[in-house]
Each structure stands twice: as C-alpha cells, then as structure tokens.
C-alpha cells in the first residue's frame, strides 16, 4: 500500500473546482516535487492532502501505517508570525501538540523530541532566541524542526525556499535532501524552482491543464515536461 493515495480528487473552494480528476500515489521514501504555474492549485492540493480543505470529490487515503495526524507540514509564513513573541524552543515544542489530545501539558518525551529536532536542524544556539529576530533561513529551520516533531514519516513543504538567498536556499535543499535520503522521510514539496526540483526530487507531479505524475526521468521525456523544462529549466511563468 502506498503511503499516500489520492484517487479521482477534485478540489477547489466553495464548490468551484480548481483541479479535477487527480490520481497519484506516493510511496514511502519518495521525494515528490509538485510543480505548475501560479494559481494552478498547488497549495490547494497540499491543503486538501492535509485535511484543511475538504475535497469536492474523491478522497485522500493514507496507508503504510501512516495516520492522518502524523504528517509534518511546513506552511508559508503568515503575517501573524512575523512579529510573534515566541522563543524557538516554544515553537518547536508546539509541533508535538497534535498528539496531546486533551492532555494540558507536554511530557518529558515531547521535550526530548523537541531538543533532538533542534539539534538535527543545528539551531541549538538559537533555542532561547526570539523567533521574530531570526533570519529567513533560520526561521525556516525552526519551522522544519517543528514539522519533524509532528512526523517521522511524511513531510509536506509549501515553497520552503521562497524569499531565501541562493546560499541559504542551497543549504535548505541539502537539509531536506538529507532528511529524505538519510532518515528515510518521505517528502512532498511545492516548488517554483524547476531546476532544483529536477535535481533533488525523485518524482514530479506537474499540475495544470495536463497532469504528469511519475519519476523525474520520465517527466523530461513527457510532452508536458519537455515543454516546461525546455526553456533552460526555468518556469515559463518567470520568463
């Protein structure tokens, strides 16, 4: 059984479909990049997978022992977070909240896990610092550590490198690649950067008027992929 399966999924807001008839599977250990033009429904698809939006039709199934609340999520930053007074440790620890149920306080095991993930993201020196004072790259590491507290199996990342400079972007991709290869965490990532997607990902999901889902190699040979990647690996929308 696949880790995640979307069958005949139609999604959109208020009954108006943005995307229809999406079928794809994600196997454990894959690194899937979702690409497509602005407004093609990439973020909506991710929110539907996470259960934040109800699909108009079809369903999202989790398998392989993955429960729906064991998905780690790295959302795009919101306005509220930019001036939020919270320490790095508090934010990372809040990644364990989904498992708490009605228990009011965290257990020692949760605190331990939060520290492990802080160390894993190499942000120990920042643990007592205030989130709003960190650089963009550091903030993304904090949110990634939080996502890792929520999951051991599947990470969903919504444009994790947007707004970062090239050096930090490369570090971020390296970090995500390591989580996928060394720790065996399945990654699903929305990306605007096709070149990086082709370089790091094992599979591509292209959504838009034509849908492709499969390994990276097959994507370049497909009609959609050839057209899209043909322009020097740049998104046509950016040219």
């Amino acid at each position: 059984m696949a880790l995640l399966r979307c069958s005949d999924l139609s999604l959109g807001y208020e009954g108006k479909p943005i995307l229809e008839h999406i079928d794809f599977e994600v196997q454990a250990g894959e690194y899937l990049c979702i690409v497509g033009e602005n407004g093609s429904g990439k973020s909506t698809l991710m929110k539907t997978i996470l259960g934040l939006i109800r699909p108009l039709r079809g369903e999202v199934l989790t398998g392989d022992g993955l429960r729906p609340n064991e998905i780690g999520y790295l959302p795009q930053q919101t306005v509220v977070q930019r001036d939020f007074p919270a320490s790095v440790y508090e934010i990372v620890l809040s990644g364990c909240q989904g498992r708490q149920g009605l228990r009011p306080f965290y257990r020692d095991a949760d605190r331990e896990l939060a520290w492990q993930n802080i160390c894993r993201m190499e942000i120990e020196p920042l643990a007592r610092r205030c989130y709003r004072e960190l650089s963009g790259g550091q903030q993304q590491r904090v949110l990634l550590a939080r996502a890792l507290c929520a999951t051991k199996k599947l990470l969903l990342l919504d444009e994790p490198v947007s707004g970062l400079d090239p050096k930090v972007t490369a570090e971020m991709y390296q970090l995500i690649g390591d989580l996928n290869r060394k720790d065996g965490i399945t990654v699903i990532m929305i990306s605007h950067d096709l070149e990086a997607a082709l370089h790091y990902a094992s599979h591509i999901l292209h959504i838009g008027s034509r849908i492709y889902c499969g390994p990276v190699e097959g994507y370049l040979n497909s009609e959609t992929g050839a057209r899209w990647a043909g322009k020097g690996g740049q998104c046509p929308c950016q040219n």
Partner: protein, 279 residues
C-alpha cells in the same frame, strides 16, 4: 498617606480593588492571544454588541437583561473568532461592522422606545462606555460572580496554555497535525465574550478594551517568549489596576480612565526599556 490608609479600610474600596485586579488579570491573559490574532479591537466591539443587546432587552422589558446580553454577545464572539480566517470580510472589518452596527441600533432603539422611568438616555450610554463609578458600588453578588469567573478564566488559560499558543501561532499547522483548532477557537471566543460582558458591567467598555490591549503590547516590547509575555502582561495589568484604583480613590478621578492612564504610562516605560535594550 493617612487618607490612603483610611480608604483601604473601607469595604467598597476593598471590593473595587479585588474585582479590578481580577478583571485586569483575566483581560490581560486573553489580551495576548487577541492582540497577536489582530483582534485588538474585539473588546470594544463586543461591548458595543452587549450595549445593543442591553437596549433591546430594555425596550422589550426583560426583567433580567443578562438573559439576552450574554447569548447575543457570545454569538457575535463566535461569529468573529471561531469562523477562522477564510471569511470574506476580514477580522478588523467584521469587528468594526458588528460593533458600530450594534451601537447604532441600540442607541436608536433606546431613543425610539425610551424605557419607562428613565429619561437620561445619554447618561446611560455614557456610563456604559466609561463605567461611571460602578466599580465603587459593587454588590456582594457581583463580587462573588467575578471571583468565580476569574478562577475559571485563569484555570482555562493554564490548562489550555499550550493549545492556545499552538492555535495562535499557526492555525493551519495545528489543524494539519491533528489539533482540534475549531474547538479551541470556540472555547476562546466564548470565554472572551463572558469576560467582556461581566467586565463591562463592572468597569465599562472603555476600560475593558484598554485592559485587553495595553498590558499585552507593553510586555511584547520587552519580552521575547510567549510565556514571559503572558506572565508579564498579567503582572503589568494587575499593578496598573491597583495603582489606578488607589489613585482615583484618593484624588477622586474617574476609576476607569485612571487605570487606562496607568496602563499608558506602563506602555511608555516598557517601550523605552525595549528601545534602550535594543541599542
């Protein structure tokens, strides 16, 4: 000083101090999450709603107008806070709309159908907004009610502290990873509505907004973790309430506005401290 000592032996001053401190404590604890969610003005908005409901209750002739005020205000709070951020009219606009609307409708109804035995409508309106001297004329029942309520609010805040943090910092992440954000938003909305209605009766709607906003903002100038900000906001709020009530008892100034002035001074001091610290 001897004058102050004399006042402190008076029951009405003791009651005012007790209730003022408790209301200040509750409002400031809830204020942190409200300010961060961009709902700073909800205290004002909901108290206008409560005023509107009070006017309707007076016109209809209900003997106990709490029966109408409480459900209406809770309903509006739920509508504003618990429907999430995906509504068509965004937070600040919907608060403004509901608050101004309720105030206007309430005032108009009171003018069209003046309640029997009351001729001084603008006096009523004024004391609703500014609290008048009602904090100095509290009954035993009101004091007990506010003690019970404060215990409930403080317990709620402590037991749900981590959930409030998770839902306030990142609602989508919390929902995606299995936190029941809808339930917690609903609980927060109901508690806020209850606090605002009771506090409005005790200290007036002007003061309740100030108690929600000022301590949280002052604490955020200096402190950098959610826990420190919450604790500090509660302390600032309690200290300002005590100072304000004692000052107004001695000098004869209006209680509500004296407390607000104390909060403004604290905000100034904390801003300065934050600025000096960042140099």
């Amino acid at each position: 000083m001897s004058k102050l000592a004399l006042y402190l032996t008076q029951t009405y001053v003791q009651r005012a101090l007790l209730v003022g401190v408790l209301v200040a404590l509750c409002a400031s604890l809830l204020g942190v999450t409200l300010v961060l969610r961009r709902f700073s003005f909800i205290g004002d908005g909901l108290s206008h709603v409560a005023f509107g409901a009070m006017a309707v209750a007076a016109v209809v002739g209900l003997s106990d107008n709490m029966l109408l005020i409480m459900p209406v205000t809770i309903g509006c709070a739920v509508l504003l806070l618990a429907t999430g951020r995906n509504t068509k009219i965004k937070g600040d606009a919907s608060v403004a709309m509901i608050s101004v609307g309720a105030l206007a409708v309430g005032y108009m109804l009171m003018n069209l159908f003046p309640p029997r035995g009351k001729s001084n409508i603008s006096g009523d309106v004024c004391s609703t907004l500014f609290g008048g001297t009602s904090i100095l004329t509290l009954s035993n029942l009101e004091v007990r009610l506010s003690i019970v309520l404060s215990i409930v609010v403080v317990l709620f805040f402590i037991l749900f502290y981590h959930k409030i943090f998770a839902v306030t910092f990142d609602e989508s992440f919390a929902a995606a990873t299995g936190t029941n954000t809808g339930l917690y938003n609903l609980l927060i909305a109901v508690i806020i509505a209850v606090v605002i209605v009771l506090a409005m009766n005790l200290v007036g709607s002007l003061l309740i907004s100030a108690l929600v906003v000022f301590p949280a903002l002052s604490a955020m100038r200096v402190f950098k973790s959610f826990r420190a900000v919450s604790v500090c906001a509660a302390c600032i709020s309690v200290i300002c309430a005590v100072v304000g009530i004692l000052f107004s008892a001695v000098q004869g100034t209006p209680v509500g506005s004296t407390i607000v002035v104390a909060d403004i001074l604290a905000f100034g001091a904390f801003s300065l401290a934050g600025f000096l610290h960042s140099l």
